[in-house]
Symmetry: C2
């Protein structure tokens, strides 16, 4: 039986308690905010080798394995000793987004003012708030300037928000499969995912039990997510029109929609079902709504264009790598070209890498033969320079 469950905080996560109040960009104030993060490698004596990694919507801070937590992270192939983001030379920080549910304060956290979870009383979340939470972690670690901020997908938007809000504190940006703003096609998809969750009677206007909750809505939303994260081209070769041999035997629970008329029949349906099942118990539905909505709201042009440092002693954004996959339908590669163009400026080197990966938006997680070398080359340049 698939059940919802309280998301697990990664064992290696530190939790920074922020002093004072945290003022949200679109109104509202949070008290006693906590931000969960993990680190890899060692900060050098002048704190000049720090790399901040911001995540997509659903991952935790556990980007890579470590001695404290040997389980593989969500970007295991990219972060680690001798890997493209080389933890033998770099000090890497990965932050769980504010508004998420893996140790950072979010809608599923207890509101200290009431002793009950925030749920829908959580203020409107923006990716600028996510960046501000990450910034607090960076400063708490004694880092005045980041060598680089890295973000794929939603993390790319948060990384851009970071550069725009702290334009004198970032030397380089790696922005992957993201955009300067959400366009109506992706807004429509995310809006529909949110409606799937909100339409589930078990959502109960956000007041669901954490042991149950809108499982059905989360299942639908995750399946739509998976469809938009991959590509038609990949699936054509991967699944074709193959049928599932025996859907019934694959079903863990009787009486579900997997069986019966219009149940799972094609391999692609079985694949979606398996992915949805894995997701349901691991993410809080209200957190999903807030983070998804924050992506729709983001628009870099709210900040008046590219980051620019006007303060003496500040570090100007000098090196930018923008990457994207040609088969991405959620953040089409035109949006990465647009972003690269927007970031062009005097004294700034902007590199746009368009990759012919077939795995769509998710390519940065799986097409390592293409993504790893480009990221490695960029960091080689940074470390040499």
């Amino acid at each position: 039986m698939v059940r919802s469950s309280i998301p697990r905080i990664p064992p290696a996560a530190h939790r920074l308690k922020l002093p004072g109040s945290f003022r949200m960009r679109r109104g509202g104030v949070l008290e006693q905010v906590e931000i969960a993060y993990e680190t890899w490698g060692r900060l050098n004596s002048d704190a000049s080798n720090a790399v901040l990694v911001l995540t997509g919507l659903s991952p935790s801070s556990h980007a890579a394995c470590s001695t404290e937590d040997p389980t593989p992270g969500w970007w295991e192939d990219v972060i680690g000793p001798g890997k493209p983001i080389d933890t033998e030379r770099l000090f890497v920080i990965c932050v769980n987004s504010l508004g998420s549910c893996f140790g950072s304060t979010g809608p599923a956290s207890i509101d200290p003012a009431t002793g009950a979870p925030y749920r829908l009383t959580f203020p409107v979340l923006s990716l600028e708030d996510v960046a501000a939470g990450a910034h607090a972690v960076v400063r708490s670690l004694g880092i005045a300037h980041l060598l680089c901020v890295v973000g794929p997908s939603m993390g790319g938007m948060s990384a851009l928000a970071y550069c725009l809000q702290y334009p004198c504190e970032v030397n380089a940006l790696v922005n992957i499969s993201a955009a300067a703003r959400s366009l109506p096609f992706s807004i429509a998809l995310r809006s529909l995912q949110r409606e799937m969750i909100r339409s589930d009677p078990a959502w109960e206007h956000g007041q669901y039990s954490f042991e149950a909750g809108p499982i059905c809505g989360m299942r639908l939303a995750r399946k739509l997510g998976m469809i938009t994260y991959r590509s038609a081209k990949e699936w054509k070769h991967r699944f074709g029109r193959e049928r599932v041999q025996d859907a019934r035997s694959e079903s863990e629970e009787e009486g579900t929609l997997v069986d019966g008329p219009f149940g799972v029949e094609f391999e692609v349906e079985s694949y979606l079902e398996a992915h949805a099942r894995k997701f349901i118990g691991s993410f809080d539905p209200n957190c999903y709504l807030y983070l998804s909505h924050a992506m729709d709201l983001f628009d870099a042009t709210d900040h008046g264009g590219a980051p620019s440092c006007a303060i003496d002693g500040g570090v100007e954004l000098r090196h930018v790598l923008v990457m994207g996959a040609t088969t991405d339908i959620l953040f089409p590669v035109e949006q990465q070209h647009e972003l690269a163009g927007m970031l062009e400026g005097p004294g700034r080197e902007v590199t746009m890498v368009e990759l012919p990966s077939v795995q769509g938006h998710d390519s940065f997680l799986v097409d390592m033969d293409r993504f790893r070398p480009a990221i490695a080359r960029f960091f080689e340049g940074l470390l040499a320079g």
Copy 2:
């Protein structure tokens, strides 16, 4: 208040009662089958000017206005006097698909054996069955050979099924924004739409009341449909990041998901909501499930390739027009090229027209400046002999 309702049979629809039993391709037999259809123009003396139009998933037989029913049809710009499919010279028949709910027998119809609606006892529907229903209408009108069979979207698959099943009875085929078979990306989307309906508690495993039913599931399914029917490019220019001025005032019903947190905010969300509302009351949910599933099942290669007539006195398929839009994500234009290639053969003229329409899969319904001339030219050629 949005309510489900019993779909309206178009006033101009004739209903052919088929004699005897109707044997379904994938098993099962229907008795007392009815097929609804409309006609325009006059059949000439040698019955050589007949054009059969097969529809996409949701339209009725009302493809164009007529004296009996002056309301505009779903392809009003294409069918009529002096139009690309010219009813002053052609006798045009449009058939409501078997399995649909606008006068043809389908899951919402009464099973004569029980006196109750078929619902999920309706046998598995295939597009070959849809073609067989249309064929019965054509033969009942005294037409031995069709000048042309035309079908967009699902109708293109049904039209192909028609040519494959009756290879000696069709002279020409116009196949628009369709494919020889469904691929996993579109199967995944349709499977998810079906799951949205089936997940709605009000679906009640198909036993819903026809006055209520799975309104919420239908709303979600229609919204996903709209997203896949159009294109990101069109929406970028049409909606941008425009916000709705006052979503609350647009909401007809209080307490819906349109209001409140995560309610309608962007113009694109309001557009989807408006379209979903229009659809809910006009289509039977079980019929939707059957027709959607029939699209997944269709594979022209089940019939061993292109149609070929081996009977004396038969009419061989001689003229084929395959059309598609470059922005179609549901039936990508590569699939139309594949279909055109599959239909190539000795003595057969196959024309592939790829149009740069921005409206995605729906282009054939709206981009009349591009679709009309290409269809008109093809029919001019057919009529010139």
